[in-house]
């Protein structure tokens, strides 16, 4: 169905090739996951499939690609749209019109299909993706998961034989991501559609795939094959696989159910008995840094937050979770004064923040918004830090030496680089530097791991731990359950603007089925959340 033959591709002005001598085959009906670190060429590979590379990008391409017998380089993306449907990371960025049904019909209108045929096709894809009840809805009113399903429906309207998706769940909460993946599995199993998907959060997808392609980065060979053997050769994997590798589970379990069977065997073999001792005991609440009391906020009369109360202590990491639209970002914006609450109090070390200017509040609170690119505009990374210092009048007496902060952020080799040329993880760290150069006592991070690969996430956790050790409080908004399991002391869950759960991470994460980390599912009742918890708890000695 799809054949890459010694494909080498170099972006214009790039010093080295993004894809080198890539040779692989994908059979019809396969569900394929493309994994690898940021910048390894996942999106490039996907864009080669419908001709966006090189038609949109330019660059030098050697070797050949064949998709259902057509060469995308020769035919171009317009013709390939009938063979390979493409879904991008951000559903909103690809919508052309404003209503579900019209959006699905857009490709059919371009293809000049007779209206009667269009009706049949639109009905078909709306039905397959469970969108029939939403057909007349304005796209703006849909949830994240629903929007992504509309984007998939729009790509499927031309009945392509391949569906290509570039990180389709990266902006979704676990429930919405499950909706989208469920739809993809149905399309693959019921209709035999070939699906090729790039994704960073492997734990969401591994249980569904037939083939795993790993692009490990420059100068390393591409791995391709059934997921088990490929996962053995990958450095960074989800907790289930990491634990399986450590404990020698063979074949590596791809589903929690398979993992649970291995876990039982391991527990029996090691003679482990649950001691009842929790490796993640309830943390002592440190001295309060931020206190939010009975906070309510309305958007044009529509309640967005209702009676929210929470605290963040010095050196404490509080994770805030909840579905898209549950009010997490709104709360952060209220704290830094971008929104004025209807009622309630926000105190930083006992001092009220309500009514203060954002620019003043943000000298003491570092706020990293969801899109770090909105912060970046200077020519170099060093300039970005200097701009913040200038804004706060701290150029002559910076609370931290910029060079020290850049070294801590792992950006000391890149001080003169143009920030927007960097990878997602690096840009995120530059933005973090731009908001922490004032040495704030509290950090508010809104989805900082969106689009980040495993090494970048590990680096972020390391940084946050360092800052925590120095007494900085962190309020982290995220959908990433495994990140919360690793880093958070306390978890607050919001739903429809209200706090529905709050407590130590081990308690909250194991209470809701959608928030349970993989290790906690493997060893229920033990209180273990991470691979390290499990290995320590099992007294596992690799020797």
């Amino acid at each position: 169905m799809i054949h890459f033959d010694h494909l080498t591709y170099t972006y214009p002005d790039a010093p080295y090739a993004t894809l080198t001598e890539l040779t692989l085959d994908i059979a019809e009906g396969e569900f394929v996951l493309v994994a690898g670190p940021s910048g390894a060429g996942k999106s490039t590979l996907l864009r080669c499939l419908n001709g966006l590379v090189p038609h949109f990008t330019g660059g030098i391409l050697n070797g050949s690609i064949s998709v259902a017998g057509l060469d995308p380089v020769i035919e171009g993306p317009r013709l390939l749209s009938r063979i390979a449907g493409f879904v991008f990371q951000d559903p909103e960025a690809q919508f052309v019109v404003d209503r579900v049904e019209d959006e699905v019909a857009f490709a059919l209108e371009n293809a000049g299909l007779p209206p009667a045929d269009m009706r049949v096709r639109v009905e078909e894809v709306l039905h397959v993706l469970d969108l029939t009840p939403l057909r007349d809805r304005e796209l703006e009113t849909l949830s994240g998961g629903e929007k992504q399903r509309v984007a998939i429906a729009a790509a499927l309207a031309l009945r392509p034989r391949v569906l290509v998706l570039d990180e389709p769940t990266s902006q979704l909460d676990p429930q919405s991501a499950q909706e989208v993946l469920g739809a993809l599995v149905r399309l693959n199993r019921d209709l035999g559609l070939t699906i090729i998907l790039a994704e960073h959060r492997l734990e969401r997808v591994l249980s569904h795939i037939d083939r795993l392609i790993c692009l490990p980065g420059p100068d390393k060979p591409v791995l391709s094959g059934p997921p088990g053997p490929v996962l053995h050769q990958m450095d960074l994997t989800p907790p289930l696989i990491a634990l399986g590798k450590e404990l020698g589970w063979e074949p590596l379990p791809l589903t929690i159910e398979r993992g649970q069977a291995f876990a039982k065997e391991t527990v029996a073999a090691l003679g482990f008995q649950a001691s009842g001792q929790n490796p993640n005991p309830e943390p002592l609440k440190p001295e309060t840094l931020l206190q939010v009391k009975d906070l309510s906020f309305d958007y044009d009369g529509t309640p967005a937050l209702h009676d929210i109360s929470l605290t963040v202590g010095a050196g404490e990491l509080v994770a805030m979770m909840g579905r898209n639209g549950s009010g997490k970002t709104t709360l952060l914006r209220c704290i830094v004064g971008l929104l004025s609450p209807r009622q309630g109090e926000i105190l930083l070390e006992g001092e009220s923040l309500v009514g203060q200017e954002t620019a003043d509040i943000c000298c003491d609170i570092g706020y990293l918004p969801q899109e770090p690119d909105a912060l970046l505009f200077a020519d170099t990374i060093a300039d970005e830090l200097a701009v913040t210092l200038r804004n706060h009048g701290l150029v002559d007496s910076p609370p931290i030496a910029p060079a020290d902060l850049l070294a801590r952020l792992g950006l000391d080799d890149l001080t003169t680089s143009y920030p927007r040329d960097l990878s997602v993880g690096q840009r995120q760290r530059v933005a973090l530097g731009a908001v922490t150069i004032t040495r704030p006592r509290l950090l508010l991070l809104d989805e900082p791991t969106r689009g980040m690969d495993y090494p970048a996430k590990r680096e972020l956790v390391r940084l946050l731990r360092e800052w925590q050790a120095e007494g900085t409080g962190v309020l982290l908004v995220t959908h990433d359950v495994e990140l919360v399991a690793q880093a958070a002391d306390w978890v607050v869950v919001l739903d429809q603007g209200e706090v529905v759960a709050a407590g130590p991470s081990a308690t909250v994460l194991t209470a809701s089925p959608l928030l349970v980390p993989q290790v906690a599912r493997l060893f229920p009742g033990t209180g273990w959340l991470t691979v390290d918890d499990a290995l320590t708890g099992l007294n596992f000695d690799p020797a």
């Binding site: 951000d90 052309v96 371009n110 000049g112 209206p115 269009m118 690119d373 912060l375």
Partner: protein, 344 residues
Amino acid sequence: MLDARGWLLWALVALVAASSTRNPLYVVLLLLIAMIVGGVCAGDRDRRAIMSPLRFAVVAIPLAALFNGLTAHLGDTVLFHLPDWLPLVGGSVTLEALIFGAMNGLTLTTIFSGFTTFNRVTPLRDLVRLTPRAFHEAGVVLSIALTFIPQTTRSLNRIREAQAVRGHRVRGLRDWLPIVVPFLISGLERSMGLAEAMVSRGYGAISDQAQPPRTQRLLVLGLFLLLAGWLALLFLPTWKGIAVGVMILGAGIIVGVVWLAGRTVSHTAYRIHHWTARDTFAALGCGLTLAVILLPLPLMDRGTLYYSPYPRLTLPPFDLFIGLGLLGLVVPAVIGAAHRVDQT
């Protein structure tokens, strides 16, 4: 409920009617009609918009009255006198001038109300579908540009907020740099992303099909004739008849070329609106209003359309038949109400 062409006709007739009379009684009647049609036909889409003409009136009418009252020193009923040495405003301020200004404000409010109603009842996509097939791609680009506006506003707000959290304050022109640069870059990135997404769904395949040389030659001929006729009209007044004929011929050829080019476009439309009896009924209502405004029909006193408060304020006259004729514009509201009753 109604076809976009029907709504377009309604908006044009409402505009012609509001601009053709200075009689405040007729203008108020037209304002009420526009608000009723908007209220009934826009359904639940945006209830707050019903009151927007009144909010506009609160600003426009006093401002227009004040401006005219201070600058037009006509009329018999002097309210007070401003010193003559004051430039422009110096002189008598009269009741008639204030009323005339208020009437201008009322006319502006009525035109605004007509456009607001048209905007609320006609989805943009339906209007884009009215563009000739040959200009389909331009229509899509226009619709995207319009849907881009709210997205662009959101993007600007996001960037403004992101800079504020770095302690940025906008005090002067230079302070806009940290907002403008990411705004432009993100706009370009967004445009590229959308272009990729659209091409991935087959958009633009039409533009790959070049028009046959014959069509292109005809277009050049049409443009040449139009230009030649226009120049002849300007510089050869004795050839006026021939010049107009050449211009009509040129315009006809251009229309023909657009029609021919549209036939080669393979694009089709998912939603096809058919002209129904309801549209005919609404169009007849518009025709009635247009007739009483423009035609010298018997039994009607067309002089009542041209009321003036000068030199001394009098009560505006009202012709029952003209008033009834203006009610032709309320037909869409009657159809809308009947449609709702049918649905319930």
